[in-house]
Symmetry: C2
Subunit: 168 residues, 2 copies
DNA sequence: CCGAATACTTGCGTATTGCAAGTGATATTG
DNA sequence: CAATATCACTTGCAATACGCAAGTATTCGG
């Protein structure tokens, strides 16, 4: 018996368009920010994700995590060492989002409105963003982020983040 | 005199993160769908954009167009041939979003949940999506979409779209 | 056993989206 | 030139999503 899909064949989606599909999975104010924290900073628990620079509300985080799990982008599992905790790991489909996250970064990196903001963060972050402006370096970086994710690790491994000044 | 920015240097943004920046510009249920119609189908007027496959509500379209204009992604101008109409054209910043739109398409193209939907559309659309699965073809396609946009044209020029069966 | 940590839920106010109808200006038709 | 159609919206209202503060159940460490 195959997966249940409405008789229009769209399974409740607004259309069969691949861009619309991605928008229905990721098109909100938080999903991609959550995935950023998982991919680049290795956050894996609810509490870690809650402490994002952008200060996501606790009920919204819960709602987005369920959504992303339902869409097959992340997978929840109990933490074996601490039974209070759950882990949220990327699925294959989630790992496949890395080029998209890089492309978002790349677009902002070339955007004047973004560049005119005050930028904090670590040296590693600045070098990453600067590297994306060169095509060769960029594809090398995508591979690195990808490899880290496959190892169950994350890109800024070993780097201590510097938090948003607003959150002091 | 420089553009006014709040004293935190973030100009009202939630953080200085480039991914968050892109999310604040594009992270909603409609912005990328509107840009898809402009880039791939050459829609330029309010009425054309209103007739999207996904059936955007008229007030929401008005709101999103103002938002995208304010964010510098599109530019509004009166139609010289018909004074009832306005044109919405991509800015440089909007053209720079093409790789992102392609990446969204690419992710869905590899996603089983998307592939299991019933797919309509034209032969040209199917060939485009299939082409994205090969890296060489993909970068050639990005260039083609880009070139069309620079000419003030669009990728599926001359192709008549087939509409969503839901909208009959 | 007890206080702290963790992953949530609940309640409530505001903002965004969805739906249907209406409006004023311009273009087209007879 | 008058009637009608087209076009880009606006308005009103309901439903959903988001933001904020507080509370709860379970587990951990001591």
């Amino acid at each position: 018996m195959s997966r249940t899909v409405a008789k229009d064949g769209l399974g409740g989606r607004r259309s069969d368009c691949p861009i619309n599909f991605a928008v229905e999975v990721l098109g909100d104010r938080w999903s991609l920010v959550i995935l950023r924290d998982i991919v680049f900073w290795g956050k894996r628990t609810y509490g870690e994700l809650l402490r994002s620079d952008e200060r996501i509300a606790t009920n919204v985080l819960a709602s987005r995590l369920r959504h992303l799990e339902k869409e097959g982008v992340i997978q929840r599992s109990p933490d074996v060492h601490d039974r209070r905790k759950d882990r949220y790991d990327l699925t294959e489909s989630g790992i496949a989002l890395i080029p998209l996250l890089v492309e978002l970064t790349c677009w902002s990196a070339r955007n004047e409105r973004w560049r005119s903001l005050t930028h904090g963060g670590t040296e590693a972050q600045h070098r990453f963003v600067a590297g994306l402006l060169d095509a060769r370096t960029k594809s090398r970086l995508v591979r690195k982020v990808h490899d880290a994710a496959r190892r169950g690790s994350h890109f800024f491994e070993g780097i201590t983040p510097v938090s948003n000044p607003r959150n002091k």
